[in-house]
Symmetry: C2
Subunit: 448 residues, 2 copies
Amino acid sequence: MAERLVVIGGDAGGMSAATNARRLDSDLEIVAFEKGNRTSFAACGIPYLVAGEIEQIDSLVARTPREFRDANRIDVRIEHEVTDVDLERRQVEVHDIPHGRSFRIGFDRLVIGTGARPIRPDLPGIDGEQIHGVQNLDDGARLLAYAEHSRCQKVVVVGGGYIGLEMAEAFVMWGADVTLVDGGPQVMRTLDPDMAAIVATALERHSIEVRTDVTVTGFEPGAVHTADGRIPADLVVLGIGVTPNSELAATAGLELGVAGSIRVDRRQRTSDAGVWAAGDCAESFHLVSRRPVHVALGTIANRQGRVAGINIGGGYATFPGVLGSAVTKVCSTEVGRTGLTEFEAERDGFRAVAATIESTTKAGYFPGTQPITVKLVAEAGSGRLLGGQIVGGEGSAKRIDTVAMAITAGLTVDELINVDLAYAPPFSPVWDPVATAARVVAAAVAAG
Amino acid sequence: MAERLVVIGGDAGGMSAATNARRLDSDLEIVAFEKGNRTSFAACGIPYLVAGEIEQIDSLVARTPREFRDANRIDVRIEHEVTDVDLERRQVEVHDIPHGRSFRIGFDRLVIGTGARPIRPDLPGIDGEQIHGVQNLDDGARLLAYAEHSRCQKVVVVGGGYIGLEMAEAFVMWGADVTLVDGGPQVMRTLDPDMAAIVATALERHSIEVRTDVTVTGFEPGAVHTADGRIPADLVVLGIGVTPNSELAATAGLELGVAGSIRVDRRQRTSDAGVWAAGDCAESFHLVSRRPVHVALGTIANRQGRVAGINIGGGYATFPGVLGSAVTKVCSTEVGRTGLTEFEAERDGFRAVAATIESTTKAGYFPGTQPITVKLVAEAGSGRLLGGQIVGGEGSAKRIDTVAMAITAGLTVDELINVDLAYAPPFSPVWDPVATAARVVAAAVAAG
């Protein structure tokens, strides 16, 4: 009889695992349970839906349950929540939400792709209907319906990370007055303060009021309360990070790792043989700090899911780890980062040397050329590249990929200088900004 | 007494060497001779000058003789042509063009940065005033003056390489009817035929008539003669490649390398101790084929010049080699390439496995997303990445840098799959097109 793979969660981690397992094992019976009502959705698209750049929420669905059934022979059941995992009996308990009933189903192999959820701080008024997280399309639909219904004019975004920035931009485009509140001393804690300051200036230029070092103390309809006074708010977006949905795994007895994420090895195996985890619920390994980390990003979820699926299907694959690479944009300002910041490098015990350069995205004389600032961080002595940050105009952010590639390969900044990066006036100065930054850091490393 | 560095050629190779030598050796006397009347110019900008995207030819001058004198204490003499190098006496003979006189000057160290010139085939009518090469700003100024004076309506571009494509685009924007003639079976010989075909289609979509397998047999005012008949032409642009200006070096007795370029080692030293060469006149080393090559590109000239200058100034630097990375665009179609094509890999003795994928430049649902085609070439068995080619809409070409970085680092396509490339909907699909291509090639490598 065919073995059965049960998949918990219908988004990137779980469904990438399911489709990759199917490719290698055509006999496997695959059943996937998703508690929401959509599969394989691009939650990263929500800000652009609010901004009006994308019109239909369903255009964010990469693949529907029917498509999974027809193309991959995967039996996807939406609005089915897995409520218990019994590792001893190799069964899961499933709640069929629309029919209000539960059942148990056995598995031979199991993938947990339960994702993460926005952190909701335990503050007075946190359950108000005006307060929204942005983690899945159902959140997005609710937020959009609320915004339209309430014709919101004043929006407060709590938290200055990627989601916070993108939602702030979205509501500016929507036409609201937007205040971004962060409890820390800077926006974008994944950047060093000097680079974050450029982003903050850009936010203000785009009419977003930035209030750092402001602690939120509570909410009421129409306002956010802070240690620094009351801020009017028809609608509040929470962007203070996510926490992995690992309760099911923990209750089942699976080992947890950093920040409550599910511990996995390089093949995405959990502490129970035959159970894999992938995506926002699972732990990752940082390739530079060599420490376990929790990074909730769609790219990682897809890669981890693919690796889990290949291993489930009888192949062999490993996920070596992450660099925390990310790009975002706020109106015309683009941001990219990868590896360790100068702050993180020192925190993690490296002797770091950093340099920041200013250049242009195209040849300096070329029409439409934009300023770009590149910061690179290297290890003192060896000159090994540890991280990079980029802030600039159009054409800036994705240059971070060359830095990510160089870090992955263990290149030194000296080696980076001479890499044959491509040049033509509409694309770059003759010295690509990344190579220019490498020259300056290399000189700093050489100077000791 | 201070030693004297003589620099032959006032563009990227020579002047990068001069400024880098100055940085390390403040006592050095530096004299640079340039036979034209501009230094440190961005010849790559000429097409955009013709297209009207750049208005002033002088905006293509990165640094004037006066700036070199004031900022770097380099004595630059324009309109001075070095006519002989006497290695025995350590002297060069210089012709002062405006004054019509010659003199000799001694050197302790010498850099040759004489560049390259467009190949002018020995055909009837080749010396017609309507026939233009595009190698330096004087060429550009002449071409522009001729085009304006003759109000040219019909332009024939001979040669479908980078310069040919860019000049074809430029004259379309200028408002002329443009025919691109190539003696070979495809445009862009640095791409495989399948990728070149996409470029040819784009050229035709942009109203450029493409005629491949057509041999030019001669020129007359108003027409180009070909084996396939006469093509009307008010103006002809030659884009059939360049040949290094190495006659001076050869006559002096310096060893030449591939395609007549000046042989250099990894420190840019010629066969004579104390004489360096850098830029379009010098040989390079191909990092994948491990063979000497001649690549005439501004990026290489700058890098080689920097390495020569550091060594001249008493430091230590090496130029490891090139990948033939290049980007260009024809109207809205972008092209990037690096490393070996499938054809080149097989020619050079590799067992190659290639795959081509189609994707989008942004998330598929994001407004303004453009098609992108990525071809990757890997070594059979090992899976080592050998080369990449990209053709697509805006945002495509510079992604080739991640491929260049991966090849330089010796990554396999399997390793490339999991590199933490950055993602957000305005920048990329969740699987970056380069990573998607890596997945498909890796599967082909695994399948043997």
